[in-house]
């Protein structure tokens, strides 16, 4: 097992789950700050508030399953097992980056844990995931494919075509819509005439569930059901995880368009807090442990930033590598 796979396996431990949720949250907060301070070039899209979906995904998917994510992929990548240093290395264009530093924040990938190259094109990952599921169906493997995408992506043609194709071919794929209420600066209700995006599965005769996206266990249960259905040959499922994006769409966005109080309502059901309280209630950990975990993670991320900033930038040769196969 490589490091990513070890991190993935470790998630079985509830303490590790909380650790990883903090890891995502703190990583994203710091990335945003670094961009804000002009220490990183380009753009980035963070996922604070959506950690429960990432963790549930990593818990239920196998490393051999194929996961298609988007430009908002840091959380999924970290949860699936990628190290903060490979993700941060990529975001900062270092040789230590997941794809050698030429991809950047929107382009992460780690084949050892099934993370396919994340796409910066809205909806593209949906038919691509269907295709990954096709491979399993054709070769008789029991790997599944999972596509993660946002609420806004359900208005693009690739969503329609991808779900229809997966349904008619009964492909082993799970479509996970992270409905975080906004597509860029537009509230979902301004662009989409239905309240529940899960309802759109009916157009494909596809089972669907509306899921509380703030609770790891709830999301994991839904994913387990969907993955079982897929592996059992019963075809695709659409899951709509209701969640929220604490931060703006991208580094450039202060999210001033949000109705007053909306953020607070969601913060009151913060996925990390909910998971932490659950673990404490269950007696899995004590409050003190939880605090300790949080500070431990904070230190880890700071160390990661220091090391990354000290790592050499991707060289010119990297720009000419992996364009096509070299004879």
């Amino acid at each position: 097992m490589n490091v990513s796979q070890q991190r993935r396996a470790a998630l079985a431990d509830p303490i590790e789950q909380l650790d990883r949720m903090y890891e995502i949250r703190i990583f994203e907060d710091r990335i945003k700050e670094l961009f804000g301070q002009g220490l990183i070039h380009g753009t980035t899209h963070t996922c604070q508030g959506q950690e429960a979906v990432s963790i549930a995904l990593a818990l239920e998917a196998r490393p051999s399953d194929h996961v298609c994510c988007t430009y908002r992929g840091h959380g999924h990548a970290l949860a699936l097992g990628m190290t903060p240093s490979s993700v941060m290395g990529e975001i900062t264009g270092r040789v230590s980056g997941a794809v050698g530093g030429v991809g950047g924040s929107m382009h992460l990938s780690d084949r050892s844990v099934g993370l396919m190259p994340t796409s910066a094109i809205v909806g593209a990952g949906i038919p691509i995931a269907a295709g990954a599921a096709l491979t399993s169906q054709v070769l008789g493997r029991d790997d599944c494919a999972i596509a993660l995408f946002g609420d806004g992506a359900t208005n693009i043609g690739a969503f329609h075509e991808g779900l229809n194709l997966a349904a008619i071919w009964r492909l082993p794929v799970v479509f996970v819509c992270e409905n975080n209420v906004y597509g860029e600066y537009s509230r979902i209700n301004l662009t989409t005439p239905v309240e529940h995006l899960a309802d759109r599965a009916a157009s494909y005769g596809m089972p669907a569930e509306i899921v509380d996206g703030q609770v790891v266990g709830t999301v994991a249960d839904a994913m387990r059901r969907a993955l079982e259905r897929a592996r059992g040959g019963d075809g695709p499922t659409l899951l709509e995880c209701k969640t929220y994006r604490y931060s703006g769409h991208s580094r450039a966005d202060a999210a001033t368009y949000r109705p007053a109080g909306e953020l607070d309502t969601w913060l009151a059901r913060d996925p990390i807090e909910l998971h932490r309280q659950l673990l404490v209630r269950e007696g899995t950990i004590a409050e003190a442990d939880a605090d300790h975990i949080e500070s431990r993670v904070r230190a880890r991320i700071e160390e990661c930033i220091e090391q990354t900033m000290a790592t050499e930038p991707a060289g010119v040769a990297a720009m000419f590598s992996n364009v096509v196969a070299r004879p």
Binding site: H41, G42, T43, T92, G93, G101, V102, G103, G104, S105, M106, H107, S119, A120, I121, V122, G123, G152, A153, N155, I156, G157, A158, G183, E184, Y185, S186, L190, T191, T192, A252, Y257, P313, A314, V316, A317, A318, M319, F320, V323, R326
Partner: protein
């Protein structure tokens, strides 16, 4: 007045919307948010939600809507946030809009404008940094313009909106924040198909487009040779008269392009000149382009990826002194591409 390019674009849209009630603008987050690049500042306030529209994430849908609206009496201006997104809507531009007049015997037309931001330099990565002009090439019925700053952005956009046929405006993203003096009002309208002469010289004709005009200017400033620097402005149909007239005078053609060497936009100009002005050419046509690789993300690699003024100046000096085509940097430095 001095305006940033994004302000000049917003001003051009506003001026056309004031003078023509059929002009409408639509795109993702262009109304309430005033555009991801703030190119529609003030439009919603002044013209209201009927004419200034936020769309769902549906490029095929709203480009198609623009075609239908243009055919029936509106002059829609759609914004494609990054030109790559035309990859999910190209059909509407190339196969529908560009052929609507032809396939209706002239009884329907498609006076619409598709604005799309293009180019590298801001760290958006391989899928958000291309120029992709050639997607719109070889498409009779379609026009393509590329501003090189606030002034041309204003003048060309206004002309594009007034044009009776579909026009694609490719806006270099790195220039949105750049400020320059702009002639606003009807006097500032620039005719489509007419190139601009940036500097006048005798030894070489440099044809540049959009973001590369500045590169050419810097390369020529204080060089031991003097150049006609032509800002092409309109890529389709490009100003053949102006370019050929210049090459016949200088005997040398150099293109500075933000596109890969293979299949970049300059091939069209080089090919035409090699046929039309062959007997005036004293030296090989050279194209300073990007290497044949996807656009890399990090700032230092993006800089290396883009054509460089120093390379251009040195290359032209070599061309004039030796008569030989200088090798591109990636060849001399031994990077296969």
């Amino acid at each position: 007045m001095k305006l940033r390019m994004r302000q000049a674009i917003a001003r051009a849209l506003a001026d056309e919307m004031r003078s023509d009630p059929t002009v409408v603008v639509m795109g993702e987050d262009i109304a309430v948010a005033e555009g991801p690049f703030k190119t529609s500042e003030g439009l919603l306030d002044e013209f209201g939600p009927l004419r200034v529209r936020d769309t769902p994430i549906s490029e095929m849908g709203f480009c198609g809507a623009a075609v239908g609206a243009a055919a029936t009496g509106l002059r829609p201006v759609v914004e494609i946030m990054f030109v790559e997104f035309l990859g999910v809507a190209l059909d509407m531009v190339v196969t529908e809009a560009a052929k609507l007049r032809y396939l209706s015997g002239g009884s329907y037309t498609a006076p619409l404008v598709v604005r799309a931001s293009v180019g590298a330099g801001l760290g958006f990565g391989s899928q958000h940094s291309q120029t992709l002009e050639t997607w719109m090439y070889a498409c009779p019925g379609l026009k393509v313009v590329v501003p090189s700053g606030a002034g041309t952005a204003y003048g060309l956009l206004r002309a594009a909106i007034r044009d009776e046929d579909p026009v694609v405006v490719l806006e270099p993203r790195v220039l949105y924040a750049e400020r320059e003096e702009v002639v606003v009002g009807d006097a500032g309208i620039l005719p489509l198909g007419v190139a601009g002469l940036v500097t006048r010289g005798d030894d070489v004709t440099i044809v540049a487009l959009g973001q590369t005009v500045e590169i050419a200017r810097v390369a020529a400033a204080g060089a031991e040779w003097s150049a006609d620097i032509i800002d092409l402005r309109t890529l389709v149909p490009w100003d053949r008269e102006r370019v050929c007239e210049s090459v016949e005078r200088t005997g040398r053609l150099v293109l500075v392009e933000e596109s890969p060497y293979s299949g970049g936009w300059g091939t069209e100009i080089a090919a035409h000149v090699a046929g039309e002005c062959f007997h005036s050419l004293r030296a090989p046509v050279i194209r300073f382009t990007c290497p044949d690789v996807p656009v890399p993300y990090p700032a230092h690699l993006e800089r290396r990826y883009l054509p460089d003024a120093t390379d251009v100046r040195a290359g032209i000096t070599e061309l004039i002194s030796t008569g030989r085509r200088p090798r591109p940097w990636w060849e001399t430095e031994g990077y296969a591409s």
